[in-house]
Amino acid sequence: MILMALFKTKQAVKYDKKHLLGIQGLSIPEIVHILNESESFVKLNRKDNKKLDLLKGKTQINLFFESSTRTLSSFELAGKRLGADVMNMNVSNSAIKKGETLIDTAMTLNAMHPDILVIRHGDSGAANLLSRKVNCSVINAGDGWREHPTQALLDAMTIKMNRGKIEGLKIAICGDIMHSRVARSNIYLLTMMGAEVRVIAPSTMMPKDISKFGVKVHTNMENGLKDVDIIMMLRMQLERMDGSYIPSTREYYEFFALDYKKIKYAKDNALIMHPGPMNRGIEIDATLADDINRSIIVQQVEMGVAVRMACLKILMESQL
């Protein structure tokens, strides 16, 4: 209830942090503030003229050490719609391959006076390391298995748009929890906002002591999905399907993929989410993923741009 009140009063909550490195470290009012800001950008993005000049004259560098389509294009579009000069660093062609370290790259970019660095890196803590070495704001667009804060924010935004609230909802996160930064960020955010969060995975894909994060742990879809409002499916990394974590994709599909049979365990109106890109026929039934009555996966992408615009704006304001 208090949360609802926070959402309604659009009072100015000051976000005074320089960076956005993870959901850990954010407060509830800060999250609410970002979500409230995002809402106005959702409306803007649906208009003919989507361009603002809030970030005019600012330089945003997207430094992606891991390949990405949707997150990179989402950040690029968000920056451009706010009027920033956006540059994407294609790391596969850069000096990193010649042995330059992350910090050297950071120092080189820093000398070009960017205002915002958006970084994705395969190592946990890479964004934290970078943020200590550069003068500008750093947004973590995914680091190793640790955090992907804008994904969790856009997921929260999507849930809020569909259900009007987060508090009190039962939300199941299913799949490779151990190797998932999306799962971690979502667990932090959703539990903080008062949802009941469950994680469902084979125990070989469950990280140690995950229950201490305030989630319920299930290794069986029937129990885990019982009465849930939202089902978040995670992407299954194909390289983990070779017998080291689970015996086969066939077995995984039978027991852990979301299909029309298993979705019946959830509430009748339960919604399906997925951070993408999807492996149809591995973690999710191909038809179910496109079921407009159930799937809000496309909406997640739409919210992504709005949430990232809000994050960029808020970080720039905190620099004033």
Partner: protein
């Protein structure tokens, strides 16, 4: 004036008025040490006073503690191949400022010390460049690949005090079986770094809530205890000389106790880091606290301290592993493991005395008498006739660890800004005062 065996002049001298602890000779009393003109200990104990030392150079060490020079049994020296991280000269300076006069060095150099000619090379280098006494280990297997055993006999004849793959663990049961079996012939000291490769693959931190939170691949404790269990079972077939280099988990201690109760003889060590720090100290990806084996839970740390107290663990080492900036200024996944620690070794160990966890004599025993005994080193006590390697310290002196004050070539201390109590004031090596503040 006489010349000692280094060809340097030494005067007959005496250290007096100190509290002397020599665990081997069961001494804990106020007194002094008389050093002859050759740099050897002539006499020691309460009988040595100002009045009976005659015409000698006298060091009055009132209110100070005097112990045998420390024997640090796990040190990475950097020569050959990693001279940019540490060389014998910088290591010596770091060591004597920490009261360490003898070190046992690891074979994890480039090339690996796995044959007589490389061993001979480092022996000569150490003789020419090192101030402190270097006792080198050779590897257990060729190129530390865990497949073929090295020439234990020849290497031992050349001066190798033991055999270990250092930062790697011999995985194959068959190879380990041969090592124990053949090692028995040569009476070789077999030293294992206990960690299963597969269970620890890509792991960089303890597997726990912390690894889940930081999103890092964890190393479960059983990666260690599994190897110890296997080794001890094999050892019980051969009764060779066996030492476990580093322990990090409380579960390993249970296994060790079980086999000790079966009258199996072996020894084990722990690094001072694992007695002083736990996984929480890693905070937000502090790469200087990435260690191997990883820091574990505080409960493990407390049990390891208890293990030292009860004599289940025999020695404490610094596990001095100098790493240059470039090897540490990386993400936690990519950076090298290890911390520089030889010069803060004693002071950090004394923390366990000041906080009441360990008694002083136990600490001294674990860093002097016991390592000297295990590695067969002619040091670690104040026996008459031994070279006078002596450390004098102010037990209570407070100080703060600062990277910039470290003498080691690499500054990767795991305890930057830590407030410590107790500092070395004088170090004697072969009777000569080599360090003083």
């Amino acid at each position: 004036m006489f010349k000692n065996f280094d060809g340097e002049s030494v005067m007959k001298s005496a250290i007096i008025n100190a509290r002397i602890i020599d665990t081997k000779n069961n001494i804990d009393e106020l007194g002094g040490v008389l050093i002859n003109e050759k740099g050897f200990i002539d006499a020691c104990g309460k009988k040595i006073t100002k009045d009976n030392v005659g015409d000698t150079k006298v060091y009055d060490c009132k209110n100070k503690l005097l112990i045998p020079g420390i024997v640090d049994a796990r040190v990475f020296a950097g020569e050959p191949g990693f001279e940019y991280k540490e060389n014998y000269r910088t290591l010596s300076q770091a060591a004597i400022s920490g009261g360490v006069t003898s070190v046992v060095t690891m074979p994890n150099t480039n090339p690996i010390i796995d044959n007589v000619s490389t061993f001979d090379f480092i022996k000569r280098r150490a003789r020419d460049k090192s101030l402190i006494k270097i006792y080198s280990l050779a590897s257990l297997t060729k190129n530390i690949e865990g497949n073929e055993i090295t020439e234990f006999g020849l290497l031992k004849l050349n001066g190798a005090v033991g055999f270990t793959d250092g930062i790697k663990c011999v995985q194959k049961n068959d190879v380990m079986d041969k090592i124990f079996n053949y090692g028995k012939n040569q009476d070789a000291l077999i030293i294992q770094f206990p960690q299963d490769n597969e269970l620890s693959k890509n792991g960089v931190i303890n597997q726990s809530l912390i690894s889940t939170k930081l999103g890092l691949k964890g190393i479960p404790e059983y990666a260690e205890s599994l190897v110890i269990e296997r080794d001890l079972r094999l050892l019980s077939q051969y009764h060779s000389k066996y030492h476990i280099s580093l322990l990090s988990s409380r579960k390993s201690l249970e296994i060790i106790k079980y086999w000790k109760n079966k009258n199996l003889n072996f020894t084990s060590g722990v690094s001072i880091n694992h007695l002083s720090l736990n996984e929480n100290d890693i905070g937000e990806f502090k790469t200087f606290l990435k260690l191997s084996p990883p820091l574990r839970e505080d409960q493990d740390r407390m049990e390891l301290i208890k293990g030292v107290r009860d004599g289940v663990i025999d020695i404490i080492v610094s596990d001095h592993k100098p790493e240059d900036e470039e090897s540490k200024r990386l993400t936690f996944d990519k950076c090298n493991a290890g911390a520089s620690g030889v010069e803060t070794f004693l002071s950090l160990a004394l923390e366990q005395y000041h906080n009441g966890n360990l008694d002083l004599k136990k600490i001294v025993k674990c860093i002097t008498e016991n390592p000297a005994k295990i590695f067969g080193i002619n040091a670690g006590s104040l026996d008459v006739g031994l070279p006078a390697d002596i450390t004098v310290l102010d037990l209570d002196k407070p100080w703060v660890v600062k990277r910039e004050n470290l003498k080691s070539k690499s500054k990767n201390t795991a305890i930057e800004n830590k407030k410590l109590q107790g500092k070395v004031e004088k170090t004697f090596l072969n009777g000569k005062l080599v360090f003083e503040i």
